[in-house]
Symmetry: C2
Subunit: 383 residues, 2 copies
């Protein structure tokens, strides 16, 4: 018998050309002056101008904020909130990947709640409602446009903080697969493996529910089936399937949370300033093997999807599924060993990284209770 | 390649005891004085008092509106809106089945948009935002707590109007399976077959999307597996599974709409003032057979779930699935022929009923283009 399930997702506008709905959506939220968060890459690809043309048509003003880097930093959020308030903006739009969207969410928190962004680390620490948000994702992976999560780097501690709150679900998420066509192969792969990790960890989470599990399994199936062809052919059809997968994975993890893999990914990413997508092919299988005993049946569900059917016992199916997942990752130009990403000198930091990961709120929903030693062993195993 | 998909659901609080969250939820929406819509049955079962105790604890005032019947009528809505405005209420709560919830939605429309309720018949006719709504379902079927639909009887024309608008998705849906335990067997069955019809019609709808289809299939599977035991044992576990099914079916039909079966159900229900749940075991299989050629592959997906696997060709699987669905319905004390519900003298009205059904917005998403003759034939077939 289940406990109480809270399930929240934004209104989603999905499909090729859905960017064109941004103006109407923003107007509907009562916008007069939009605070528009983006980054240089999006601007260079022409999407920012496309968006401002759409806003212009609806008579909406905007002010730009493009001080966004990957792994957005606390001071960028704090400056952004100051700018938001100085400009009397009333709605926040972000267009970009996880970094601009998380920046927008962080700014929204501080604009209406004050203080420093680190005050909100953890679950349910945001008290007052946020300004309306429209998040337009340009990648198929981070899920920030759907989720209750916001990941910001605390630069003093060099750690990525997980901030989780229902109020971080934006009002409207716009997912336009046309935008993916201008993305690099690397970014498409990194986003898809992030979505795969979201789907798997949410499925195994101790607070997964019937409402999240079906979304996890759909995402795993779609990424496994379509990533290769999306990368090879850039067909809009395959990119659209990856976008569906990302939305599904995000619905799942936003409501079921994550586990040890993301706790480690945040800790590693914060310490080494790694692109988030690089760590999943390294960590995911090792974390799954670590968790296997605690959830063999669910791991076998995942195995059946990846293998296309049962292979002997549940345990065998689960293990072969994990092996096949590693095989799947190795078909792409990604690192499978940690040392290849952080360099030989990084090894000395594994102990503090495991220690920091233990504090991540994602650990709370891992299917198996975690210890510092266990997390360290996983890091050593994938070294 | 898909067109643009719009997907919206409320925040959902699900699980036994979730009713206890009603106070906090309402407070979060800024409530000072709640307009509380319910009916005599809910009051008699003690749930209304439970709810007002919860509101009292949060210091929230309320004013009652219990002028609610099954198949809620235009004048009940119009009187309710007047009461809402006179009382300066600021949030609407409904506790009950589809009737109180649809009454609440109708009142919300008129309170902020004025006019007569018939002005809003059809899709997307509601312009101004509605008062915040918390809908607490006490049945596992109508889906009004989740959906963009509101069904109100126009008493001048004796027809149930479908009003569909994104703004009719409430802010918060509370689904507490404990409440189902006080429901009659008849109501549990009628609600479940309504949810089954929602799931099937949404799955076959021409605007079904990957985001709705998985919810449809999950609902079909759960209702088929658990209705018998829910009725026989009243186990909370089985009732909870029916509630999950109802939420899933509602997410699906709210975003994919319905088809000929619901168009006929609305027309029949409006004319004869039938309980909505009585018509689905009569109509559903006949409408599925009518639509079969237009969507054999999808109908086979449904067949595989009901049959537990493929039986020969897709067409054979689909047909056997439909037969098995009829067998499933006939295991419950429900009518399978229309004459048993409306009496011999009702036959004379089938022609105008089919004509009225043709105007229902649900026809637009039926997998096969409809004609008056086709709808009449279906009515004759199930007579």
């Amino acid at each position: 018998m289940m406990e109480i399930i809270k399930f929240a997702i934004p209104e989603i506008i999905f499909g090729k050309g859905s960017l064109n709905h941004a103006g109407q959506c923003t107007l509907r939220l009562g916008a007069k002056k939009v605070f528009l968060v983006s980054d240089k890459g999006i601007e260079a690809a022409g999407w920012l101008e496309r968006l401002t043309d759409i806003l212009k048509k609806e008579g909406i003003e905007w002010v730009f904020y493009t001080e966004v880097t990957s792994n957005p930093r606390d001071y960028q959020i704090e400056r952004g909130a100051k700018r938001y308030l100085e400009n009397n903006a009333d709605v926040i739009i972000a267009i970009g990947g996880g970094s601009p969207m998380d920046t927008a969410k962080g700014i929204a928190i501080l604009a209406n709640n004050g203080g420093r962004i680190r005050d909100y680390e953890g679950a349910n620490r945001v008290a007052r409602p946020l300004p309306p948000m429209v998040l337009i994702t340009t990648t198929a992976g981070s899920g920030s446009d759907i989720s209750q999560f916001c990941i910001i780097t605390d630069t003093e501690r060099s750690v990525k903080m997980s901030i989780i709150s229902r109020t971080l679900v934006p009002n409207i998420s716009i997912v336009d697969p046309l935008i993916l066509q201008t993305k690099s192969e690397t970014l498409i792969i990194q986003s898809a493996v992030d979505a795969m990790a979201h789907a798997v960890e949410a499925y195994l989470s101790v607070i997964a529910s019937p409402f999240t599990r079906m979304h996890s399994l759909k995402a795993i199936e779609l990424i496994h089936s379509h990533l290769k062809s999306a990368v090879q052919t850039r067909s809009l059809d395959a990119l659209e399937q990856l976008s569906i997968a990302s939305v599904s994975a995000s619905i799942a993890f936003s409501n079921a949370s994550l586990g040890a893999e993301h706790a480690l990914a945040h800790s590693l990413g914060g310490h080494f300033d790694l692109a988030h997508g690089t760590v999943h092919p390294i960590l995911l299988a090792a974390v799954m093997r670590h968790n296997l005993d605690a959830c063999t049946d669910k791991m076998a569900d995942i195995g059946r999807i990846i293998l296309g059917g049962q292979k002997g016992s549940d345990r065998r199916t689960a293990l072969e599924g994990i092996d096949r997942l590693v095989e799947f990752f190795s078909g792409f130009p990604v690192s499978l060993r940690l040392r290849d990403e952080v360099g030989e000198e990084g090894r000395a930091f594994l102990d503090p990284i495991a220690r920091m990961a233990m504090k991540d709120v994602c650990c709370l929903t891992n299917p198996k209770p975690l210890t510092h030693e266990a997390l360290l062993n996983i890091c050593e195993e994938v070294w």
